[in-house]
């Protein structure tokens, strides 16, 4: 049972790495990857919480929640990726970092 408990910490680590990546990375695609990492980490912790040695003891509710979560994350990722392409296409840069320099130059959009 103790080794199963390890997955808690790997879930936590994934969440932390995802959070750090989401905030720190400059490329939008990498931010979306990091977001997916975060949700995987959370799902890991949820499923470990539901673990039971044999079939009867397993709690199915977190499994249902994780399934819903996976579908939610793929739909958000799909919209995010389309938006990244649009942002790249019209404002010509995928890095949020560069946007602040552009704004300091005071380009006003209507």
């Amino acid at each position: 049972m103790s080794t199963i408990f390890l997955y808690n910490f790997s879930g936590l680590a994934l969440f932390a790495i995802g959070l750090h990546g989401l905030i720190r990375s400059s490329h939008l695609l990498r931010k979306i990857l990091a977001a997916n990492l975060m949700s995987s980490g959370i799902f890991l912790i949820m499923i470990v919480g539901a673990y039971g040695p044999d079939q009867a003891l397993i709690d199915p509710v977190p499994h249902a929640m994780v399934l819903t979560g996976i579908l939610v994350s793929i739909s958000t990722t799909a919209v995010a990726l389309v938006l990244v392409c649009l942002v790249q296409e019209t404002t010509n840069r995928a890095l949020l970092l560069q946007k602040r320099k552009r704004e300091q130059r005071g380009r006003t959009d209507a």
Binding site: F15, G18, L19, L22, L28, K31, I32, A35, M38, S39, I42, I45, M46, G49, V61, P62, M65, T68, G69, V72, S75, T76, V79, A80, L83, V84, L86, V87, T90, T91, L96, K99, T108, D109, A110
Partner: protein, 501 residues
């Protein structure tokens, strides 16, 4: 007369159904969308009336009782917010109907705005259904899914306007919403792990101070603060609300931001009220003060009308967070009533303001504040609506905003912690500053005003006026809606709890 559960179900099912039909039959969207809006408002009205008769109740979806199944807990707070969403949503829908028909009217524009309209209605109806679902539901994970729909729909609506600035703002909004949802989900997961319950009312009974509780509460609240754009985490709101289409900004500022604050109010006001230390409330209150000051200062500096209104949303949200410690301090119901009043008044006033700003933008061709002199001659009704909404935002008497501020001031002075009250007064002074910065341009007379051809249809101007007047009347008739609040103290869980070991 169908009973409350019927109306509650209608509030969720009807907009979903019409969203699907609008998507499939996109040629009928100009007729189906407004029809759905009217039906929604009707359902909201029906719900309020039947709630007045039958009082609060819990509706088990799928027939399964609370801990296992998902329950709607219909109490005063949720009914009031559903009614607010119905009213604001209906007027924004009417405005949108006029807005798109105006923009599509000129033949050259048939394509892009036809496309925008075809996708505005289904996404907006989904957002509306999710808002109703969120206000009614009492299950934490179910609220996660509704929050997700609201976030995603809001992002899609923001990006609908197609401008580069709008797409960038939508991107940033989506990332923040993703981060917020992850934190919220993590909080829910930890709560479920340590208490085994997802239903809020049941949870409020079981919860006891534990280290994991503080961590999960911190995560839940961070997630919700990200979505409510409280002061340090507000950077994404102004560009998103300012660059979106006019009806969309009204929806975003008026309703979407309220959904996550409603949750904070529920969690901090009811579910975890006994467990949370007062210092946590003070922290939120201080952040609220920061939001009031920062939002107002930024609003005073803005050059663009819609950016100014967006920053004023940040400031007005600060008010709501200042009220949280007061709710904890105040033994009586008046602080809670004040918050509800402020929420409803702000929803009406802010949507009216954005709608009026939209009409002004269309007529003037730009929204630079300093060049709006004399628009009063061209758009008398919209400028009147804008100023009236501004009055309610400033918290001037007879308006709902004033009454909320007055009650909070009373509570803060009575409780001895007078600084919250003083902060409110300073905030409303600053609000007067940035509202009058626009009002002085809207009220001044100038013979000639260079404006675009084509007149703004009445269906675009009158919803704004109605909402602004409603925000004022909320102050005079506050007794009735707040009476509902008393009837609806959260319903205790009945026998089903025993099934838990």
């Amino acid at each position: 007369m169908p009973d409350t559960p019927f109306w509650a179900v209608c509030l969720v099912v009807v907009p979903l159904f019409f969203a699907i039909i609008c998507f499939v039959r996109s040629s009928l969207v100009t007729f189906l969308g407004p029809l759905a809006a009217w039906l929604n408002a009707l359902a909201g009205l029906g719900m309020t009336l039947s709630f007045v008769h039958s009082g609060p109740l819990r509706y088990a979806i799928g027939g399964w009782q609370a801990p296992l199944g998902i329950n709607f807990s219909i109490d005063g707070l949720s009914v009031l917010l559903v009614a607010m969403t119905a009213v604001t949503g209906l007027s924004v829908s009417m405005y949108a109907k006029g807005y798109f028909s105006l923009r599509i009217g000129s033949a050259g524009e048939i394509n892009r705005h036809g496309h925008q309209r075809a996708y505005f209605w289904p996404v907006w109806l989904l957002l509306w259904a999710a808002l109703n679902g969120l206000f009614l539901s009492a299950d934490l994970f179910n609220i996660y899914v509704t929050l997700e729909i609201i976030g995603l729909a809001a992002v899609v609506l923001t990006a609908l306007s197609g401008k580069p600035a709008a797409r960038l703002a939508a991107m940033r909004y989506l990332l923040v919403s993703l981060l917020g949802s992850c934190c919220y989900l993590f909080g829910v997961a930890l709560l479920y792990r340590s208490y085994g319950i997802l239903d809020m009312t049941a949870l409020s009974r079981l919860v006891s101070p534990a280290p994991l509780l503080w961590v999960s509460l911190a995560l839940l609240t961070t997630g919700l603060l990200l979505k409510t754009a409280l002061f340090p985490l507000h950077f994404w709101l102004p560009p998103a609300h300012a660059n979106a289409l006019a009806p969309v900004s009204a929806i975003l500022s008026g309703l979407v931001v309220k959904a996550s604050f409603y949750l904070i109010l529920r969690l901090w006001g009811e579910v975890f009220a006994q467990v949370l230390p007062f210092a946590a409330y003070v922290l939120l209150g201080v952040l609220g003060c920061g939001a009031v000051l920062w939002g107002a200062v930024q609003a005073l500096l803005q050059k663009r009308l819609k950016m100014l209104i967006a920053y004023s949303t940040v400031a007005q949200l600060g008010y709501l967070f200042i009220a949280l410690p007061l709710i904890r301090l105040d033994p009586g119901p008046s602080a809670r009533e004040a918050v509800i009043l402020l929420i409803m008044a702000h929803a009406c006033a802010k949507s009216a303001m954005f709608m009026a700003a939209g009409s002004i933008f269309l007529k003037a061709g730009h929204d630079r504040i300093d060049d709006l002199d004399g628009i009063k001659e061209v758009l008398p009704v919209s400028s009147f609506a804008f100023v009236l909404a501004g009055v309610s935002l400033m918290g001037f008497p007879p308006s709902g905003g004033f009454l909320g501020k007055w009650l909070l001031l009373g509570v803060s002075l009575a409780s001895g912690q007078w600084w919250w009250g003083i902060m409110l007064v300073i905030g409303s002074l600053l609000a007067a500053g940035y509202v009058y910065r626009i009002a002085c341009h809207l009220l001044v007379f100038k013979a000639s005003f260079s404006s675009r051809r084509g007149s703004i249809p009445p269906v675009m101007e009158w919803p704004a006026v109605l909402l602004a007047v409603l925000a004022m009347i909320l102050g005079l008739l506050a007794g009735y809606p707040l009476g509902l609040l008393e009837a609806g103290c959260p319903v205790p869980i009945h026998a089903c709890l025993e099934v838990m070991p």
